[in-house]
Symmetry: C2
Subunit: 872 residues, 2 copies
Amino acid sequence: MSAHSPTQAPTAARVVELRGGDAQGESLGVDLAGHPGAELSALSGLGLPVPRGFVVTAAHGSGSGGVDGAALDEAVSALLRDASTDGAPPLLVFRPSPPVAARGLLEPILGIGLDEAAATALGARLGDRRAAAELRCRFTQMFGSAVGGIDPYYFEEELYAEKSAAGVRHDHQLNAEQLDSLAARYERLYLEHTGHPIPATPVAQIEAALRATARAWRGPEGLALRAASGTEHIGAPAAVVHVWIQSEFGADSVSGTMSTRDPVTGAPQRCGEFVRGRRGGEPPTTPQPISGIGLAETSLQELMPGVWQQLGALGGVLEGHFGAAQEVQFGVERGALWLLGCREATLSPAGTVRATVELVDAGVLTAEQALARIRPRSLDALLHPSLDPSAPRTLLAKGLAASPGAVTGAIVLTAADAEAAHEAGRSVILVRHETTPDDIRGMIAARGVLTARGGITSHAAVVARQMGKTCVAGCGDLEIDLRGQTVTIGGVRLAAGDAITLDGSTGSVLLGQIATVEASMSPALDTLLRWADERRTVGVCANADTVEDAERGRRFGAEGIGLARTEHMFFDGDRIHVMREMIVADSPAARAAALERLRPFQRRDFEGIFRVMDGLPVTIRLLDPPLHEFLPERREDIEALGRSMGRPPAAIRGLVARLHEKNPMLGHRGCRLAISHPEIYEMQTRAIFDAALSLWAEGLDPRPQILVPLVSMAEELVAIRARIEAVAGEYGERGERLRAIPVGAMIELPRACATADAIAAHADFLSFGTNDLTQTVFGFSRDDVATFLPAYIERGLVKDDPFVVLDVDGVGGLIELACRLARKQKPEITIGICGEHAGEPRSVRWLQRGLVDYVSCSPYRVPIARVAAAQR
Amino acid sequence: MSAHSPTQAPTAARVVELRGGDAQGESLGVDLAGHPGAELSALSGLGLPVPRGFVVTAAHGSGSGGVDGAALDEAVSALLRDASTDGAPPLLVFRPSPPVAARGLLEPILGIGLDEAAATALGARLGDRRAAAELRCRFTQMFGSAVGGIDPYYFEEELYAEKSAAGVRHDHQLNAEQLDSLAARYERLYLEHTGHPIPATPVAQIEAALRATARAWRGPEGLALRAASGTEHIGAPAAVVHVWIQSEFGADSVSGTMSTRDPVTGAPQRCGEFVRGRRGGEPPTTPQPISGIGLAETSLQELMPGVWQQLGALGGVLEGHFGAAQEVQFGVERGALWLLGCREATLSPAGTVRATVELVDAGVLTAEQALARIRPRSLDALLHPSLDPSAPRTLLAKGLAASPGAVTGAIVLTAADAEAAHEAGRSVILVRHETTPDDIRGMIAARGVLTARGGITSHAAVVARQMGKTCVAGCGDLEIDLRGQTVTIGGVRLAAGDAITLDGSTGSVLLGQIATVEASMSPALDTLLRWADERRTVGVCANADTVEDAERGRRFGAEGIGLARTEHMFFDGDRIHVMREMIVADSPAARAAALERLRPFQRRDFEGIFRVMDGLPVTIRLLDPPLHEFLPERREDIEALGRSMGRPPAAIRGLVARLHEKNPMLGHRGCRLAISHPEIYEMQTRAIFDAALSLWAEGLDPRPQILVPLVSMAEELVAIRARIEAVAGEYGERGERLRAIPVGAMIELPRACATADAIAAHADFLSFGTNDLTQTVFGFSRDDVATFLPAYIERGLVKDDPFVVLDVDGVGGLIELACRLARKQKPEITIGICGEHAGEPRSVRWLQRGLVDYVSCSPYRVPIARVAAAQR
């Protein structure tokens, strides 16, 4: 039964001693002791210097009562007795200790017992009567707010009245007597509001604070918090009572926080800030760095070398216990160091990786534990440049974080302008309503892409991630005036050529240039990935269409190419013209002639990729998009095409109109092209065969696989396999080896899932295309989803964009069905997935449980998938 | 084990006697005796006059040998002996008797034994030497072709030589001697080609013919036939040998065919044609009617009243045995009637219904057998007018038979022109590239619709079927010149206003006006449908959007409205303007105001339908199409809309552009509209509630059901149900009854199938929308499928258009999954289907086996579905 289970039996609160620094007390968990209580209990357990005190554990169950009065009485008495200094009992701190953060609702009360007499004694001890008076005022106000439930407004009124009476303007101008008077005002306020004075004894104050804490926890705000955090079963949160370390005043007092590691790099060196104790009446001082010699500000290293040494020794102890970098709160009172809390430090992704790997090297964590501690998505930031966190910035608008990285460039509004600027050596951001394959060359030329429409899997987003370009998509606050060559982003009008910065990790569009920091594959990341590779059972491949993508994929550890799209190869350079000639050809002979001219291009593309991936599988998807995507849309481009082909523009226009589709996603594309125009796939098959033969002749080991897209029925695969076999037959004896090249089907339609057994019978492997599968399973066009999906997310109908995180219930159900049918038909079949979800950690973790043999994602996501696939 | 099972053990051929007309022989099946053999065996078994003879049964199995020589020898000897006339042995007929039609491959040989001596005897018997010589020539040629394998070309050469020698031009000018000479030429030809003469004895001729038959059956053409018909296991087809009834020559000889019923009406009266015997040298005579007195041509009734009487007595015997109207071949030789074969008569659909019902009345068939004999689709023709089969016609082009019926009208090219012409009282055919909802009013005004693009479930086709309008869709040979107001159909240029005729049952586009015949629900059809209703377990409802549709549905026997689409209600009259105001509204208040103006229209629509369907369920589907379908597309229409709303045209253009979707099928439509714009469904819900309350107040029994379209996740249904409940809450006490109105989900997306359990938990009923489900399961857009599906059908990848016949493997698999999940979650849930397939017989037969509780189809298809649902 989980500690958080709502069926837990009611338990009453107990009092558990914190044995400050000299002995090991009982170690308490968060559920029982809350966060501060558990931390102090743990630190105490490690023999570290924590203030003496005790934890009042949480009362579990709504019917459970508070702590036993006698036990509390005894604990307070013992504390006051044992921790007295020079015979004077110590002042105490009351800290509510909830199991979840509750700032503003449950605040600590510093200075339990700080009445007029105690203030006098404290003033004498500090040698600073004004400081003691100030602390007494604060205690009275804290107690009045937390226990008396008095609105801060009343305290401000009293402060204002006191300052008026004193004739001063600022708080720190009040002297000790005036502060005493103010404290008395606050005490009267308490009496007026509650009908009785502040309880006189520490134990009575603590009892009242405990009751107030339980009240707040059960009130409306607490209710919301408990409902949201699954802590309904906790009747009242725990509390900690300990000796007050008074580090705020006095030359030999400081307070601060220290991280055991550099948050940016993860290097094991103490980092942090501290504030020096001051004299009463002085304004608070600014924080200073803990470490460093000869800086502009005095460091703690210089100020209190002994304390600094002590802090340095903590790193190993804390990380050894907690298994992660820690941030500690500390106080120094009259030269003595006390730890007041600790929690896991928030490191940068790179820092987290380094720290985690070093903790494994130190024997603190196992590799499995280390892998489980990494959020795979955070690795994304390690592979792309990111904005310098310290750089100032002006946010113009927010879009979707479509492809990570941070880039600055001049606004361009057309692909042609992007190319021209790129050739002129300028960095540009391509800004479009949405992109089409016509924009590919512009996207290649641009450093980043910003679109007004389209979701996380729109053309712009997918292509950008594939290319590793930064992209912010679906930015609703973007208007484009192409004719005027201006854009309006978040109400700010900018001209083409003006600089903007995109942060593809947050979806931010920023004004002007912002400094960025580069990232690289660190040795620690390499180590982590090696551990992941040793543990995962699912293969990780890259989606790559170019030699550059393939190289990047191999560098990032891809075990092959799971998806090499061939369509982008037809947009490059002059090929698009030949492709268009093929499409507008008015006879099979003319079409065949154009295809023959495309074949050497394809062959060279394949040779290049095979060479990079030598010895690893390269899965080539035959042509997928509808032919009209290759034709121009604009009147002038159509006319130019007509001229270049010696055909009347009307003929080209007519063809464009004939090829127009109402729902191109569900139209004449994928292997449907091969049923109506078999010669296209035949050309591609020949190019694959030629490339393989040429590399075999060099003694290399190319391993092509042919992937047939958009299969909806086994009959399609049968017909296309027959054509591929026939092409192999053209190669005579050499055809034998070519015939062994695996042929697989892309499973990206519901019908392919429902008939996966029939398809598997004719396939050597299957590859789920989860982008298209998500579109057809939901009936969501990824190009149009931005018009309604935001309303779904806003109203809580869906938690995650199904194009980002695999929809386990619907799409996943069909994937499971398909895997079961396919494996029943052909147990030895290889099954992969090459959609966007292949690089999304939650999806990968789900998919790797016996469903698929490999995932294939964009090169930049390969490390993410490697880690995710190793997480159980 | 089926008789056609390929695993059947080899069996040798046997000889089985046909006991002509006087005794019952062994009755043989088609598999053993082939078609002619089985027919003659059956007729013989009925004691009817068939020629004496025998059947050589089929040798089953490729390893099986031919017939035993001794048995054949004995059978031929017995036949020649027992059937001799005046001491002369009879001439015989050899008829190959395959189990499937094999014209051109296996032809009979008439006149076995007809050598020179037999010809002389025959001439004497006929009193017509030339006739005998002609028959001998024909026998020799038949034998030479069938057994000798001699190309007809050689016989023509010889005939030409003989005519040249005789100095005549036409065959019939050859006299008896010259024909004898020709027969001798043919015999020489045989010798030259085969190396041996025509076998001398009848038994040798029959043995040779049997071998030739087996050879042909096993040859390439036979192979194809056997493969196509599943008769691979038959080693050689059967053959029939019987006495030759020589009805071709002589005054008291005739040959003919007779149907036991009128093929058009199905009335039990003998119909058919016969040819009178002629004299040698006369050209063949033309066929004359069998029945009738005082016609232009002499009938058999007049010529041979005795034979006519005999034929009349056959009807009851034959139909009583075969259970269906029959067509018999007969021959009369010298006044004696012989039956030579019979087969089921091809009646018109109306005739079939009448004949079948009458056979049940006569106790020949059970009602179940009668239902099983009806092809439900054929009923379609009974419900729509059809082309007069005898009318002359000029075919312009063929398209898809999208919606049945035959209509003539003047060509119009726009919806507005159709409306104007309709108001002027003219019949028009709306000719469009494709139709959109903008064309609805034009379609209402037109008698028929012809489109150049779009498949069997394109907008034009679906709406036309729904309306009962004739439609020919996807007519590729159609070009439209809107500016020039001309069309070119199959190369013929026509102007707007020219008349064309559409035959929606065949997809024909015909020039000018063609006469048609009206159809009505006959008493026989009523009887048949009553039997069907008594036997089917699945309900049959109609899809109807209007009062007229609802009335038609109820008239045709619908048990409710399974789908009342609400979108067409917004196109009528002025509503479209209000609808557009709602869409372009720039504030929620303006939108609400426009919706309030639409509400009374909706309410009246619903009241009208509820009234017609009083006491039966009416399932109202809330708004489904994307909003942009309601906006104009043309520049001038956009400007007009802007003017009428006092908004700048640019604003309207901008809105149209913003609402544009790349894949509207997968876009912002269906219940997605209700998530982003809840007020639309709220208005529709109020209109339904108002209509129900008003009819309840009248004491009527309206039974509305609310259907939520395009559900992809249970969360959508939950959110929309909550809104419907809230609207019911507005009605105070009366809301209780409104809250009981069932709310269901349309299951038309794969995800809805995969998560049907979760959806069923919140639904009172489910309704499969198989049109959209087929689109998303296959990834086929029904608007674009015409560009590639024909290639699939042509290449045999799919047998049936999945938009016509339910794809049982893929779409059906998901339907089964959904039914199983839904019923597991909620066993009492009602499940229906309202897509196109609900009116397609094969689909209905598949669906009714425990999957759905009801089907709902267009009113015209209701009778079809009623019959199909009763077929097991």
